[in-house]
């Protein structure tokens, strides 16, 4: 990899950045990853990794909360169902006793 090529890749990247399309820039980096020198590849991979860690942490945090709240809610519904059964039993008993 010569300096000219690094400069060319950087110029192309700059053009895309100036155009303002973030997904086009991400796609350019991903599509051309092997054209960059190894030390630059390492830096790009690392930044995408750090970004993915942030995203996964956001997702896992939300999902953990959803799962906890969901399971708690299911427990509450089951308790409510139990309560309904007790009411039914009480009501049947009252009817049979003519109260």
């Amino acid at each position: 990899m010569n300096n000219q090529t690094i400069s060319d890749l950087y110029s192309k990247l700059t053009e895309l950045v100036e155009a303002g399309d973030e997904s086009a820039v991400r796609a350019f980096l991903a599509d051309n990853i092997k054209s960059f020198p190894e030390d630059v590849q390492k830096k790009i991979v690392f930044e995408f990794f750090a970004d993915a860690v942030d995203k996964k942490l956001d997702t896992d945090t939300q999902i953990a909360q959803i799962q906890k709240e969901g399971m708690d809610s299911l427990g509450e519904i089951e308790k409510a169902e139990g309560g309904l059964k007790d009411q039914e039993k009480l009501s049947n008993l009252r009817s049979s006793l003519g109260i």
Binding site: N3, A50, K56, D58, T59, Q65, Q67
Partner: protein, 373 residues
């Protein structure tokens, strides 16, 4: 002879008992000495980098003497603090890098199609090695960022253990026992096109399951008032006991479907669910792409700042044109470090784009240095 065998057996039993009580003994780790550091190509480079970034000129001089194999009598003591600091950092690197397996990295690829593409092009194994190298570099060059990433990786690992795992196991068990039907979800997952699949999953969560832009706190708020209140509320709304049972059952199935689809492995669904709870985008960049670009130094700044730097640079009163090639190279290196430090300072804590541009700018500076005159 019999006595020896008896003693050996006694020792073996005592060892077994000790392991039972206190677990396997940790292997004692050898202290990382300056001699060991200097004998290792990667470690000596990292150590020199740490000293250089510390700005301690005396320490840099001593490191130079160690690297040349001729330390002075007091040099060992003078460097003890840095040695201990380096050892601590390297232990942290070893620990976090143990978590950054190819499998872990491939799993992270599910967070973005572009990262997935990169992993496919370079391979998860090679990418994992690159990331580990960079973590070691970061530990000495940017300890704050290193610590932040380490904490996040540890938190991600926590989700696979302890109470988080217990809840997830309970979700899986519940889904199995209740034979939860996630037909619409399976149908959406079968869509081959990534963009279309994501759209279908979002639609499922938001429109069909009705979880559009609710916060996690209010997601199940209907059920938040306790079991008695739920029964009361449904009884008020629905009237007969049978109808209340039916309504409870319907809500149970609704929640069950969401939970069943949320287990680890269903990454597309987990992302769609999390996005629906948080709203788009899940992660907001601290500074967006264009702002990052404007904030950080650019290629033209290298040329612009070089001339005044060169004209002011002098060694022992000699100006640029009178310097030897080695002195000029030293001057270029100082300039390169200055440009990179300026970029790094501006990119600090500014998010993905700023960190990315800072990294690329560093490589650009390196590639241009030898041409500066």
């Amino acid at each position: 002879m019999a006595l020896d065998t008896y003693k050996q057996e006694q020792e073996r039993l005592a060892k077994e008992e000790e392991i039972k009580l206190h677990g396997e003994p940790e292997e004692e780790k050898e202290e990382l000495t300056l001699k060991t550091i200097m004998a290792n190509k990667e470690q000596s480079a990292l150590f020199a980098k740490m000293i250089k970034d510390s700005g301690d000129a005396t320490a840099a001089e001593i490191t130079g003497r160690f690297m040349n194999g001729a330390p002075g009598e007091d040099d060992l003591d003078a460097m003890e603090e840095y040695r201990a600091q380096f050892e601590k950092r390297m232990n942290q690197v070893e620990s976090v890098n143990g978590e950054l397996s190819a499998e872990f990295i491939a799993d992270l690829g599910e967070q973005s199609p572009d990262f997935k593409k990169i992993l496919k092009a370079l391979g998860s194994e090679a990418s994992s090695e690159m990331i580990k190298d960079k973590m070691a570099d970061l530990a000495v060059s940017d300890p704050d960022r290193f610590d932040t990433i380490v904490k996040k990786v540890e938190k991600l690992q926590e989700f696979k253990k302890g109470t988080y795992k217990d809840v997830e196991d309970a979700v899986k068990k519940m889904a199995e026992e209740n034979n939860i039907d996630a037909d619409a979800y399976m149908k959406a997952l079968a869509i081959a096109d990534e963009g279309e699949r994501e759209k279908a999953l979002q639609d499922l969560v938001r429109n069909q399951w009705g979880f559009a832009h609710k916060t996690a706190d209010s997601l199940f708020s209907f059920f938040g008032g306790g079991s008695a209140k739920i029964a009361e509320k449904l009884a008020d709304e629905k009237g007969t006991v049978d109808e209340v049972h039916a309504a409870l059952d319907k809500h149970k199935k609704g929640i069950g479907k969401v939970l069943a689809a949320s287990v680890t492995g269903n990454e597309d669904m987990r992302n769609a669910l999390a996005k629906s709870v948080l709203g788009e985008p899940v992660k907001k960049e601290r500074v967006n792409m264009k702002e990052s670009r404007d904030l950080l130094p650019k290629e033209t700044d290298i040329d612009k700042q070089w001339i005044p730097f060169r004209d002011a640079f002098a060694v022992g009163g000699k100006k640029w044109d009178a310097l030897t090639d080695a002195e000029k190279d030293a001057g270029r290196a100082v300039f390169g470090d200055k440009m990179k430090a300026e970029s790094k300072k501006k990119a600090k804590d500014k998010g993905f784009w700023a960190s990315l541009f800072d990294s690329l700018f560093g490589s650009l500076v390196d590639s241009k240095l030898s041409k500066l005159n």
